[in-house]
């Protein structure tokens, strides 16, 4: 029988660290993927995710169950990823010889070309689309990007996204609308 998140949270608060272990196990992939969608590569995403679980463990005593545990954890992840991006940009601006890494693009290329079910021209088209989507999402302001990612890649309803981002649902709708229109424009321009 699957124990509910609430029960595991309660147990963790009472000092049962194994209950928190179960929560980590349950959410480790979701947190990693959300972090990846927000920071753009898995090495940074891994650092963000580790930090997320550390912060969650530290502040679980203050979690008052006004929202679900998953929403709370997504909020920590989103904030951690946004903070990480900001500090990374600052570091990059300060660094004069920023190392260039084409590694992730190569992997993306290999992964797409490996997909043997599709014809070659379709694979190339997919790769182009992927690049446009990635480029566009990376150019979005942090909150807008988070709203876009949570809606399209994590299938979260607008109300929950508003809870995660700690803002009004109208703001979330605005973020998603603007991001979608921007992407539409980019895709049109590429064609």
């Amino acid at each position: 029988m699957k124990i509910s998140d609430d029960k595991l949270v309660e147990k963790t608060k009472m000092g049962d660290n194994r209950a928190f272990g179960k929560l980590v196990k349950r959410y480790q992939n979701k947190v990693l993927y959300l972090a990846y969608d927000l920071v753009g590569n898995y090495y940074d995403a891994q650092d963000v995710a580790q930090n997320v679980f550390y912060q969650a463990f530290k502040s679980l005593t203050f979690f008052k169950a006004q929202s679900s545990f998953s929403t709370w954890l997504y909020r920590i992840t989103t904030n951690a990823a946004i903070d990480f991006q900001r500090s990374k940009k600052r570091r990059q601006a300060m660094s004069l010889n920023q190392p260039m890494s084409g590694k992730k693009d190569d992997r993306e290329l290999i992964d797409t070309l490996k997909d043997s079910n599709k014809p070659f021209d379709k694979k190339v088209e997919d790769l182009d689309m992927k690049k446009i989507i990635k480029k566009t999402t990376e150019s979005l302001p942090p909150q807008q990007r988070a709203a876009f990612v949570l809606k399209y890649f994590h299938d979260k309803p607008t109300e929950e996204i508003a809870e995660i981002l700690n803002c009004d649902p109208i703001t979330v709708r605005g973020h998603i609308l603007r991001a979608t229109l921007k992407l539409r424009k980019q895709l049109k321009a590429e064609k």
Binding site: N17, V24, Y36, Y42, F53, R107, R173, L177
Partner: protein, 253 residues
Amino acid sequence: MKTCDRQYLVVDYFFDELDKKQKNEFEKHLANCEICQNHLNAFSATAPIIKRQKRLLPEKKLINEYSQQLKANYYSPKKFSTTIKEFFESLIITPSIPIRVAEAAVLILIGIFIGKEIIWKSQPVPVQQFVNSNGYGASYVSDLIVKNYLQETEMILLDVANIDPDEDEQVILSLSQLAQYGSLLQKTSLCRSQAEETNNEKLVNLIDDIELILLELCNVEKKTLQEKIFEIRQQINESNLLFEIKNYSGDEI
């Protein structure tokens, strides 16, 4: 750029998050609003492309490293000794209400068990339970009880016989109380039953005599003190009780 005050509802409409009433209302609006129609077209053209893109999966090495680190920090299998230690710590340091109740129940049960053991052990020990060993008689313990009882009664009766009721009324009353609170009458019946078990007729007779005098002594009242004490002293002298007690204690036990 032209805007519509209901344009943001396109998002909820497209992702099917409006309730039936809102949906009907928005569809009516949509039929006449070019801006919302354009937005909806943008969603319809873009969303399937985004959804079609598979997320790049992490390298196996990275995902292993990530899982291992989380495992080590949060859900590594514990040693059996650690689990046991934590279990006992949780009982003492952070017990939940059911555990507290269980602890209380266990403590009560232990208390009852210990209490029973002590009470059972303090019960008079039947003579036949003692095994003849180490050179002692079969009724060695019971004999000791009878001997103590006789010494106790001898002391009280000696005092009663020697004290003048005219001079020391308070002492007599104290002796009466001593006979009552020292549970001499209970001891009397206990010793008689021991004597009966061992078929010691002489001792049974002696205890009967003692009992009569003790009863008199326990029932002494201030008003009739002098008469009563006089009667008791007469009984002690007539029955030669003190002599018999001395004899019995010295010779037979």
